[in-house]
Symmetry: C2
Subunit: 355 residues, 2 copies
């Protein structure tokens, strides 16, 4: 059974072997203050730099989840005002976190299934929060648009939630202050680890807040995370096994080549969208082709949703349910590096035979 | 090589097999919103209830680490004033977290190596924070003393950091409002999961703070954690594999019997302390026998620390280094359920042969 749920999703095929070597090398009981751990931290972060093209101006730290980054980023980067681009359940939840933390929140809002092409940001917004890929609806924003946010608003920090898209998007990190994701989606790993990429402008901002007495948290404040990262360590005892496994899968991705991974992602997305477009009973939920996500593909399945899910399941394909209000009307298909071309060909064959 | 570092420490001997069954049952890619996950959450928490004797008045939630509980507990249980019993590096850090969060902190302080027998708590303290077992120095506080804190201060909440002692102590949870630990110590598991036990008084307090507009955090506030726990879920995508493994090791502990585990812990502690007391070159760091920890045993090794560590390592025993200022003068020995009687007998034989 291939699992197409958009996270936790199919594990990358090498993970179980990496777990075996981790136990062989006693990594699950390694002290997080040992040289051995520092070397794992260093390998994982430098592997990520190489894979994603993260420049020296940015550093990489670890949290328990991407949900934690929603909270920590608002806490560390927003004194008063943040601005959110909201077009689905997950971008909306990020906005909600800022409100819960007592910030003044402005937003640009679009209906589910639609993507932003331009936006009027409220002047004085300290942080612009944008969700690259709405996991709930399969809408992805273009990289030129995402990059333009940083270029057009140099007084604001720009943070990108790339939870269900990385490692696919080739971000220009020079134009973005922060990007984050969690490992159980595109990296095909067991859940329990968030990765937060931040530049020095973010660090400066959080230090400025600290000096003004604004609460920025304790062990996972940016200054604390950064101080330990300089030593290739974490403030708390972290998910050591998770950090090790991420490093190993990143090495696998580097061997395969990020260009190959991106081309295969595009090929798999192309055949699935083509199948949905030519299908008699199904269609892509996202109308505008330029907003269709390559990594989370959402099919409008209407009244036949349950029937189709059961049919696919019999053929060995476990589709993801629609999200929230769309539970009875959509099926979602993750298209991550863990999903092979052959699996997608078999999936589209099965879909075409459904009528 | 047996690892006696006080956490991360030796893995419990069943862990690798449980990891294998987890992969066989596709648990690392299980959705945290599935029935399958709810069943794992339910089994793990009810296993913990049975093992530790946690009553219905208390509920169990998960965080990324015990360090996270330091922050969340202050954030959710202290509007203005907390009181800390400080007698070492870890109890001191908990106190520091409260200061960083802008609370008014009072403390009772003892030098490293000493334990509390009575304490004068500042009136009006909303939370009394006590560290059952100082991992840095091997000092443990008696259960009657810990329980008396709750009885004598019914207007305060009492929270116990039991990071390096559980599952050994038989707490009377009716006398304590909250207890927490992390899984990489006494439970012999890979790091990356904190367990937070809280009663309804704690929940009421955090709701009261929320209603007064005091920031209590977002996804990991007590009301949010509790709301999801009622459904056997977590607010964020958690360390699913970690929660599963904890549940399986708890089942193993239940089969072995908590009484057996406690008796073996006492036997192993007794032979190691006896060895240190009768030794010509070594002695227990903690003078007062009633404050000597059963689960983290600290030897004063003085000028011969490095020599002894190297000697033990050759014999297959990896001692933990002394903590902080004691790095060159102490060795620490974790005595967790993962450490067998035979290993402790072999360790004490090796120590006796060192002169």
């Amino acid at each position: 059974m291939t699992q197409y749920t958009p996270g936790p999703s199919e594990l990358y095929f090498t993970v179980q072997d990496h777990v075996k070597s981790a136990f062989r090398n006693r990594i699950p009981s390694l002290s997080h203050r040992s040289k051995g751990f520092e070397s794992i931290f260093q390998q994982t972060t430098s592997g990520l730099r190489q894979l994603l093209g993260i420049p020296e101006s940015h550093f990489v730290v670890f949290t328990g989840s991407a949900t934690e980054v929603w909270e920590r980023s608002i806490q560390n980067l927003v004194m008063e005002k943040s601005f959110h681009l909201v077009n689905g359940a997950f971008s909306s939840r990020y906005d909600e976190v800022a409100r819960q933390l007592g910030k003044t929140v402005d937003q640009a809002r679009l209906p589910p299934g639609e993507g932003f092409e331009n936006v009027r940001v409220t002047p004085g917004s300290e942080l612009i929060a944008v969700t690259h890929n709405e996991t709930s609806t399969g809408v992805s924003l273009s990289l030129p648009f995402i990059h333009s946010l940083g270029e057009a608003h140099s007084d604001s920090l720009v943070i990108v939630d790339a939870v269900s898209s990385l490692p696919y998007p080739a971000f220009d990190y020079d134009k973005l202050d922060s990007v984050f994701f969690s490992v159980q989606k595109g990296f095909g790993l067991p859940a329990g680890l968030g990765v937060w990429i931040v530049n020095n402008r973010c660090l400066t901002k959080s230090r400025e807040m600290l000096s003004k007495g604004v609460p920025i948290g304790t062990y996972h404040s940016l200054p604390s995370l950064h101080q330990y990262a300089l030593k290739h360590q974490t403030p708390e005892t972290p998910n050591v096994l998770g950090i090790y496994l991420l490093g190993e899968v990143v090495k696998d991705f580097l061997r395969r080549g990020i260009d190959t991974i991106r081309k295969e992602t595009e090929y798999k997305a192309a055949i699935l969208y083509q199948c949905l477009e030519s299908h008699k009973a199904l269609k892509p939920f996202v109308q505008n082709k330029s907003h269709r996500s390559k990594t989370v593909i959402v099919a409008e399945t209407g009244a036949r949703t349950a029937e189709l899910a059961a049919y696919l399941s019999k053929k060995g394909h476990q589709a993801g349910e629609g999200y929230g209000e769309f539970k009875q009307q959509h099926l979602r298909f993750a298209n991550f590096p863990a999903h092979s071309k052959e699996q997608f060909e078999s999936l589209t064959d099965a879909l075409m035979a459904f009528d």
